[in-house]
Symmetry: C2
Subunit: 401 residues, 2 copies
Amino acid sequence: MKNVIVAQSGGPTAVINASLAGVVDTSIKQGLKVFGALHGIEGVLKNDLIDLTKKFSNPKMVDLLTKTPSSYLGSCRYKLANDFADSDYEKIIETFQKNKIGYFFYIGGNDSMDTVSKLSKYVERKNLDIKIAGIPKTIDNDLAATDHTPGYGSAAKYIALSITEVFHDISVYSKPSVMIFEIMGRHAGWLTAAAALAKSNGKQICDLIYLPEVTFSKKKVIQDIEKKLKTSSKVVIAVSEGVKLEDGTFLAASNETDNFGHVKLSGAGNSLKSIVEQNLKVKVRNVEFSLLQRASAHIASETDMLEAFNGGKKGVELAISGKNGFIVCMERTKQYQIEYVAKEVDKIANLEKTFPDSWINKDKNNVTKEAIKYMSPLIKGEVKHNFIDGLIEFLDISHLK
Amino acid sequence: MKNVIVAQSGGPTAVINASLAGVVDTSIKQGLKVFGALHGIEGVLKNDLIDLTKKFSNPKMVDLLTKTPSSYLGSCRYKLANDFADSDYEKIIETFQKNKIGYFFYIGGNDSMDTVSKLSKYVERKNLDIKIAGIPKTIDNDLAATDHTPGYGSAAKYIALSITEVFHDISVYSKPSVMIFEIMGRHAGWLTAAAALAKSNGKQICDLIYLPEVTFSKKKVIQDIEKKLKTSSKVVIAVSEGVKLEDGTFLAASNETDNFGHVKLSGAGNSLKSIVEQNLKVKVRNVEFSLLQRASAHIASETDMLEAFNGGKKGVELAISGKNGFIVCMERTKQYQIEYVAKEVDKIANLEKTFPDSWINKDKNNVTKEAIKYMSPLIKGEVKHNFIDGLIEFLDISHLK
């Protein structure tokens, strides 16, 4: 009997452990032994594994894992070399063979799917009977070929709800004010678009939504705000951390880059705040959702959590049936329902699904009804947590050192 | 029959409308007509009132009001003159007489209790049969003579839970990092102290807690962090927005002041982040809870919400029994339970209850078990919201222009 390794990579989400729970629970029910590699592919490289089989044979622990935010197995941002002669590949195979691994599941976003793509080709080239599969997660929702990604719905729900609550807060003073929410999304505006779900009295709260897919013009934005201030004392703005100016630079660029060479961003909201203060005599506040938007399990979308679990489950089923080099994608059926389908990782990895131009309004400062229709079902349902003395019971993560 | 005016003032909380619901519901049940003054005492000055009697005779609307965050009636930051000859006092009495007002309830924090104090003396001096009472609210918990203030428990719960979730997030990477949470509290450290409630695997998550009651020494803080980094790869810090340096200036002072002359603060977390980055080679992140910590009704403490409602109720009962110039205070009985008692506003207004020195640890960088024992019961219980399509039903606030 072959064993399983599962690992998690990239930025965590509120439901990335639900995907893990789906993989672990399904593998155990298939009679397989499951190892978790700590800190993504780095754990595989170092043979740094923990046996999950016993602990998660207990359905209570599977439930707790499903509801615990962030990556139970830790994460990494490690890129495999393009050259298969690189020693990393041998090290990985060594770990696989030492532990009699037949299946490797990698839960992650765009960058992690690059690892799945390379590794699945490598094992084929080496004629190894190991199935490599990608289980998608990312709050960014920027993965190609899937209707949406697990993690997106929960972050979208947190954002819509928090904007609604803060809108109640800023509404108490009568003097005009501008409220800015800075939302994650380096190149794709999906999560920022979710600000459109926030409603009060049936009306959309966000007056202006600026996505990275649209060039950010300071002049135009000031005009947009001035126009709104004529009819309303409160102007609510959602801005993506990744909006770019006419010259191609980020509104809030920094000099740092991460291991994948992406520029680190911070402060698009603060930059916009300064611009408004310099141009208009109005009180401006800025809320940066920061890590809260991807960690907030307490208000996770039940739809999202179930889909994450089922995606993990489907990945195991497909790998056991013999598939290699695939990603579990979701397809939306007519009356909202999700089908899980395997797609060739090669056709998806390293592609970025940006927000569709046709779902951005004519003024380029909001999203259309079609976009809202797409997002709405993803935030439905609430997760039933086990509250103890006012706090939520999450799994212990003291194994992550 | 005399009528009621109720108003809300100061910074909103997640449960300030629960206090309002307590006042409105109890008044209606006593057969009284209830007006809400829009934007606090400014609404009384301008006779800008809305009749709440009909709408909130419906128990469903009372329930919805109880669960809607922020101030349904709007807010203000308006200070009455010390001199009773000021024309404001006459204007207020004019509104009272025009609307046959016998009772005025002001829901607010320290500054609002100043208004209650002055107004209650003024009506006594003028021999007017109008009862003036203060219903406390503030996330700061800095009101003297009450065990705690409504609003504090919900903000404390939000902070404890959010820190727990973000701790799961930052734990996924193996390299050392410092995580800073900036928490509201200009002069009193109660809310920052609530960071001590965040736990993982039974252990307190926050390694270091810096309150405004303790002088902030940059040198000492760097030493504290260095020491923690020797035994742990993650150092979690809660810092109050109001911490002051040895020279008495705020760590994050700005040049602006509000209407009460308080210096506006922003960025203690960012300042601390810069200090750490300049002194230690370690990754540092900063989350500023900003308005989220006082608006987050979705994770409000049920204990807090019930206490807020009952405080409003008790205020009405005491005023009807003939009391004037009081604040509804809470006293804790042995096995956690709350008694609502009237205390003379004069002995409370303009006093600030800072965090007790005896509840700060010897190293001046955390709080004691006694402090945790005090805070723990305040965050118990979850509010049952009505979720519609993944979002929470709140009351419409379109009357706030």
